[in-house]
Symmetry: C2
Subunit: 342 residues, 2 copies
């Protein structure tokens, strides 16, 4: 008999189909990726091509060379033009796509990914995230800032050069509101943050914990939607990613860097998305919500059942995936990881 | 400035990114599909290989040969074993995957799809759906039956032989509950079915209507999540697909058959999913919910933004997609379509 599980935070159900259950190592990426050069003269994100992109909104520089660079997306889905006014015509509701859509270039090197960057470089990327997150929330038209990373074709990437994206929206979509509501109801009922309690419970058994440091814990959720789904939670309760301290950014870089390195090595550079889930403007500092990162490897394709019911079929036990990732051997000198893997 | 739109029924927001907007014909499928034989001796769903599948639960026969055949999925995610009892351990909730997971083989011919089958054959497929839908809801452990179709690799198909699937679940997932609640709130407020009102509004302008017959209307939703999304709604208000009359099944076969033929011809056989959205057991006959079919071509890959915010980025105006599909030339003799396209 297969097992249905529910995630307490998202309320998503997943079914672990035991008839098709696979060993963790069967999810290794079999597609050979094209070997990339460290520099591509035709890549708009490589150094020297800065004039091919819109003007930068942020940069972190070392000896004159940018290390991380942020600019508006050339084909932006949102821009800071227009109003928040809603237009209705019967049942049809529409408004301007007022907001921002930026690209965070993670490294001058064309052939890196978050899973192969030195953790010190991951820190610069996270500092860029935080800086732009804070700046964009200053605009009174912005309600929510979503930061995300697409890696590989199955994760929706078009450009190879390592980059994340940030989208600021003038709305709080129901998808986010439902998760905020779930957390609020839990707090009203139990007087505790749902995510703090989840963290406590994961740390009590450590069955699904992949790694932890002073500031962050990474675990495979009990109801993982896909094999090797990972959640990275700060130990310190905060609603908003924007309020993360420098010390925590340091711990986050080590935690995210190591998690992505384990995924990269353990599954041979699989496609993935990661998303920073954080509170909208009205709830930047509340007791019931806890910002976190969700990493979703794109190893299977959501099909009609997922689209029709919202229930995910998975063929892996998160306990086994977590154990597998814990056992991945990392190079002793983690800074050397980037060199070895490239 | 791009445009944000909200779907009144799903409350999903989409942003139509005008910077990247593409002409409808640019979505034509460029991957050449492998030319398929009408019969494959190694295919478990081809006639003669019936013993390779679990025993059939339904069949429609003509002169001794089955035309449509239904059986449990060999690698079923749900089976009618176990109980509905919930198990909890702190925040972790789980239960048996009690339910059913069946395959509806749509034709003895290996090389057909819903978009190339004669409408008379589509009718046999829909009759099979209805029969199994009704039968499975008799089991007191079943709360919801989801019927869906995956076509092509990007839609999550593993087997080529034309088939749909049906999954009966012991739960009503939040994804479905939220849509039921939205419809109920609308009814409480306005005294009308939201979907009936949506249909009325679409028929008033016909801007997004793709086709209509006596029983069904097919249109591109105002807030289409992907280019060429189509909704097929029965004109007659009903909560449950299972209560569809014979006459309506006839009209549905013509409507769905034609919609899928227009998609098949207009976009050169694109990958797609379709899902029948229908009420759970407790609301099989209510005034506020209206069952329907959603067709979602898989022309783009949902990425981190969609996964993090639930907002979809699309690059097509549904008004243009609908116009394009309306103008697709169908063969005069629609029964001949299957012959021509195969």
């Amino acid at each position: 008999v297969s097992e249905l599980r529910q995630n307490a935070a998202t309320r998503d159900w997943v079914v672990i189909a035991t008839e098709r259950a696979e060993r963790p190592d069967q999810f290794r990426n079999e597609r050979r990726r094209r070997r990339l050069p460290p520099y591509d003269p035709n890549c708009p994100f490589c150094p020297g091509n800065e004039e091919k992109t819109p003007p930068e909104t942020y940069a972190s520089r070392l000896d004159g060379q940018w290390q991380v660079r942020v600019m508006p997306n050339k084909f932006a889905a949102f821009a800071l033009r227009g109003s928040r006014e809603r237009n209705t015509q019967g049942l049809l509701l529409s408004m301007d796509g007022v907001g921002a859509h930026e690209v965070i270039v993670e490294s001058p090197q064309h052939d890196k990914t978050i899973g192969t960057l030195p953790f010190s470089q991951v820190r610069l990327v996270l500092e860029a995230y935080r800086s732009r997150f804070r700046a964009l929330l200053e605009d009174h038209r912005i309600e929510l800032v979503t930061i995300f990373r697409n890696h590989g074709e199955h994760a929706g990437t078009s450009l190879i050069h390592p980059h994340s994206q940030l989208i600021a929206t003038p709305i709080v979509p129901p998808f986010v509101r439902e998760r905020m509501d779930t957390a609020r109801h839990y707090y009203d009922q139990w007087g505790e943050c749902l995510y703090c309690d989840m963290l406590k419970q994961e740390l009590a058994t450590r069955e699904r914990v992949i790694l932890e440091n002073e500031h962050f814990v990474c675990f495979a959720p009990h109801a993982s939607r896909q094999p090797f789904e990972m959640w990275l939670l700060p130990r310190h309760h905060r609603s908003s990613f924007g309020d993360t301290s420098d010390e925590e950014i340091h711990g986050m870089a080590d935690g995210l860097g190591e998690a992505m390195a384990r995924l990269h090595i353990g599954l041979d550079d699989p496609d993935y998305n990661y998303m920073i889930h954080t509170a909208p403007y009205a709830e930047l500092d509340v007791r019931h919500y806890h910002w976190h990162v969700q990493v979703l490897p794109r190893l299977t394709t959501p099909a009609g059942f997922e689209l029709g019911s919202g229930i995910y079929i998975t063929t892996a036990y998160p306990e086994q995936s977590a154990q597998y990732l814990r056992q991945v051997e990392l190079p002793e000198n983690l800074e050397a990881l980037a060199e070895r893997a490239s």
